[in-house]
């Protein structure tokens, strides 16, 4: 009798509830903006225009979106296997090392080869950084949350060391590598489309965006249409059933984390090879962490992740414009807005669910009982 197995229609679960969470976040934001003496309506207008109102803004929005798709997918794959991979930040960071190594070493090579090798290197480096926490979880039961957090710090320290002592060119005081050759860059979208006769505004948006969409498709197929995906989902939903079914949980844990780390590593393609064209300190700037909120909000499903990534991309770009237009709304205020969205969409994900479930149960007697 205590069974609470009640189903909500998909559009409510994946549409209405995230919308309500978002609305609540914006409501609180609006109150905050009122308190500091600005107009919420005007602020929303500036943010929306900033994110979608002009070509360059759209480009930036999609550029950020690309980062969030990669990190959101990375987090989601691990989550399907029941693993809370907080380490996407560090894995993306080390992925950058892989990208930079290829780009620095193969400067003069044809662009498709460099890009292909950079894709492989970013995934390998990201996956390698996820391997040790995964192995420790699988074999020793060291909790993945703790180990991946620690590996983020190790990654940060390692990269400072490498950028200061090893990778910065002789005579440079900057903790960054030299700029990559022309052929070792992912083509920018406006250059690429200009080649096809289409003119769009200049922005850091580059072809990594398409790779992100392809990865979303691949993850969709992996999780829902392959045996490995099935095994990962069983492991995530009921680890003891996985053992019962003859699966090897330790191997699955490592596999899931390698895929997750690899996807996180791809983020470096967009940032390092697509935009900065050199390896700099802290290029990940929290995109890995935001990926957690993106994945949770997108219900760990690729389509949801793309939409949630777009939302956060717009928040980043629109927020930047808002901070620029309204001196009263500082950069910190934008971070607060983003934080509120993460809070309501991620941490307070179940806030409205019980009420909504009750309303729908009352309206639809089919949901009653079982």
């Amino acid at each position: 009798m205590s069974r609470s197995a009640r189903e909500l229609p998909v559009w409510v679960d994946a549409g209405l509830i995230p919308f309500l969470n978002l609305a609540a976040a914006f409501l609180v934001t609006g109150i905050l903006i009122l308190i500091i003496g600005e107009s919420p309506v005007e602020s929303v207008k500036i943010m929306l225009t900033g994110a979608f109102g002009y070509g360059e803004g759209v480009g930036y929005t999609l550029f950020y979106t690309t980062n969030f798709i990669f990190t959101g997918l990375a987090f989601a794959v691990a989550l399907h296997a029941g693993l809370f991979n907080i380490g996407t930040e560090g894995q993306a960071y080390i992925g950058g090392l892989g990208v930079a190594s290829v780009c620095l070493a193969l400067g003069g090579f044809p662009m498709p080869i460099v890009i292909l090798l950079a894709i492989i290197a970013s995934a390998l480096f990201g996956a390698a950084w996820a391997f040790l926490p995964a192995y420790l979880q699988a074999k020793r039961g060291s909790h993945i949350v703790i180990t991946t957090i620690m590996f983020n710090f190790i990654a940060a320290a390692l990269m400072v060391y490498l950028l200061v002592n090893v990778l910065s060119p002789a005579g440079s005081m900057q903790p960054e590598t030299r700029t990559f050759d022309e052929s070792a860059r992912v083509p920018l979208m406006h250059d690429f489309l200009a080649g096809l006769g289409m003119v769009i505004a200049r922005s850091p948006l580059n072809l990594s965006f398409f790779w992100a969409l392809i990865c979303a498709g691949l993850v969709q197929v992996l999780i829902w249409h392959t045996k490995l995906g099935y095994e990962l989902r069983v492991l995530g939903a009921n680890p003891e059933a996985a053992v019962y079914a003859g699966m090897k949980p330790d191997r699955l844990i490592v596999t899931a984390m390698l895929i997750s780390g690899g996807l996180a590593g791809f983020m470096a393609l967009n940032e390092v090879m697509g935009s900065q064209n050199r390896l700099v300190l802290e290029f990940t700037s929290g995109y890995g962490f935001v990926g957690i909120a993106v994945a949770l909000m997108g219900r760990s499903r690729p389509v949801g992740i793309i939409l949630a990534a777009l939302l956060f991309g717009a928040l980043y770009q629109g927020g930047a414009d808002l901070a620029f237009e309204k001196p009263a709304i500082t950069r910190q205020m934008i971070v607060i807005i983003q934080g509120l969205v993460i809070l309501f969409a991620g941490a307070l994900e179940h806030m409205f669910r019980p009420q909504i479930t009750r309303i729908f149960a009352r309206r639809n007697p089919q949901l009653r009982g079982a």
Partner: protein, 505 residues
């Protein structure tokens, strides 16, 4: 007593209770006469526990009234229920393991700020209760050191210490050996003789017939009948519980065992804490027979099953399947035609958040017929699972429905269907009818019998002695990790009960 004697000890009138969308109690009325033992039967989810939780103040009814000795009462918390003279012994004991009996009895009723005052008073009271009711327990023993039967006695003492006139027992015999259950029945009869009222919740019809004077039957949240026990029969009660006629006994033909399929030799298994749970156990199961393992929960049956099916690595010993050694590998075991219906369905056997068809391939995800290149062949999985649901009469017959939305019996049919579908040589079944309604029990028993008649080997573990005795061809009794003895299923229940308690070999 004269005036009050005419009004029932407990009267519930027109109780309604809704949980979210589920109507757990629908216009339920119940009268329990003073000084009687009143049984309440019903399948899982029939609303028995909800009704008692309302009486004991865990929940409040949406509407309806509670009358105690004829007076209307509102009970909003267990402490108010206790004040009204109601005590409850839960299915899962509410005891602190490393406290003594005495400390547990006064828990929440310490009586004074200085603990020793309360303890001294309680000790005297406990002695009196023990004397008057025949409920002897050493008050200074820690709970953990007591056998389950005595722990339950402490629960009863707790209720009596708080002045209970009405005692509610929720499935009290599930954890007891038949002998301990008999003791419990003696105690209850004694309490009745002293004028206490007992409400006895169970799903075991035999117990109802043995101990109650009146019995109320619940079905789907409604009270369908209240009868004098002497004027009814298990068959009638079963029919009232399910809503249709059910066969309580399985037709069992002659057993024609053939070659040995499973050989367990000197098997020893430890649990995660390093405690020996299976101690040097040897037995075999032949094709065409059902070997039943009887025993009280926690005597090593679970670990034995887990070791044979490749979930738990044994410490020593050997397992032979069709004459060849079987490694501890669930995948290999399945390939070699060992099927496993696990004891704890929700823990091992299913993923409740997956739909029925995804559950249908659990354990068989490597099967070639479900692969199409690098992908899973969804349509093959769905059509296979639909066919199997049809064959096992799963309702509703929807492979895309989430497993958690099926009833316990239908979930079990899905698991059983999946395991039988590959025509295994050896079927290992743990608690096949736990949490399963009577109608489905009949079906599951018939299926197991049909498997055996087809010449399959079946190893059956169950805590329901009746189930073992009606299905098995040979009965092994497990006690404290060892096989305490083997006997034919016709052996009198008392004798098997003694073996389960470790009293005879």
């Amino acid at each position: 007593m004269n005036e009050n004697a005419r009004s029932p000890a407990i009267k519930l009138s027109h109780i309604n209770k809704q949980f979210g969308a589920v109507q757990a109690n629908k216009d339920v009325s119940l009268e329990v006469e003073r000084g009687t033992i009143h049984g309440i039967v019903g399948e899982n989810g029939a609303g028995k526990s909800t009704l008692m939780s309302i009486l004991f103040g865990f929940y409040q009814a949406d509407s309806g009234g509670i009358f105690i000795n004829g007076e209307p009462r509102t009970i909003t918390s267990p402490s108010e229920a206790i004040k009204a003279g109601i005590g409850m012994v839960h299915q899962h004991f509410m005891l602190v393991g490393n406290f003594t009996v005495l400390e547990n009895v006064i828990l929440g009723a310490e009586g004074a700020f200085i603990l020793s005052h309360g303890i001294a008073a309680a000790r005297k009271e406990l002695e009196r209760l023990a004397r008057d009711h025949g409920l002897e327990v050493d008050p200074d023993k820690a709970i953990d050191e007591l056998p389950v039967g005595l722990q339950q006695r402490v629960e009863i003492l707790k209720a009596l210490y708080r002045g209970a006139d009405v005692l509610i027992l929720d499935e009290p015999t599930g954890v007891l050996t038949p002998r301990e259950a008999d003791h419990l029945f003696d105690v209850l009869r004694q309490l009745k003789a002293e004028g206490k009222t007992v409400i006895f919740i169970t799903h075991k019809l035999k117990e109802i017939m043995a101990i109650t004077e009146r019995v109320s039957v619940m079905r789907r949240g409604e009270m369908v009948a209240t009868l004098d026990t002497t004027r009814t029969s298990p068959e009638e009660l079963a029919e009232l519980m399910v809503g249709r006629r059910v066969l309580l006994r399985v037709e069992k033909g002659a057993c024609r065992p053939k070659q040995t399929v499973l050989d367990v030799i000197n098997l020893t298994v430890k649990d995660a804490d390093g405690v020996v749970r299976v101690d040097d156990v040897s037995f075999s199961v032949r094709a065409g027979e059902i070997v039943g393992i009887a025993g009280v929960v926690g005597n090593g049956q679970s670990e034995l099953l887990e070791a044979i099916t490749g979930i738990r690595q044994p410490v020593s010993g050997e397992i032979l399947l069709n004459g060849k050694p079987l490694a501890c590998d669930a995948a290999e075991a399945r390939q070699r035609k060992l099927a496993h219906v696990p004891e704890d369905r929700h823990r091992f056997g299913v993923v409740t958040s997956f739909n029925a068809s995804d559950n249908f391939i659990l354990g068989y995800q490597d099967d070639k017929k479900y692969q199409r290149g690098p992908f899973l062949d969804r349509s093959a999985i769905v059509s296979d699972s639909a066919r199997n649901m049809e064959a096992f009469d799963v309702r509703p017959k929807d492979p895309n429905l989430r497993l958690g939305l099926f009833s316990g019996g239908n979930q079990q049919k899905i698991v059983l269907g999946r395991e039988i579908d590959r025509d295994p040589d050896l079927l290992i079944v743990g608690q096949p009818t736990r949490g399963v309604d009577i109608g489905a029990i009949e079906f599951i028993h018939r299926r197991l019998m049909a498997m055996r008649d087809k010449g399959k080997a079946i190893l059956l573990v169950s805590v329901e002695l009746d189930e073992i005795r009606s299905l098995a061809d040979r009965v092994l009794v497990m006690f404290s990790g060892k096989i305490a003895g083997e006997c034919p299923p016709e052996t009198p229940e008392q004798r098997i009960g003694l073996m389960m308690a470790g009293a005879v070999a």
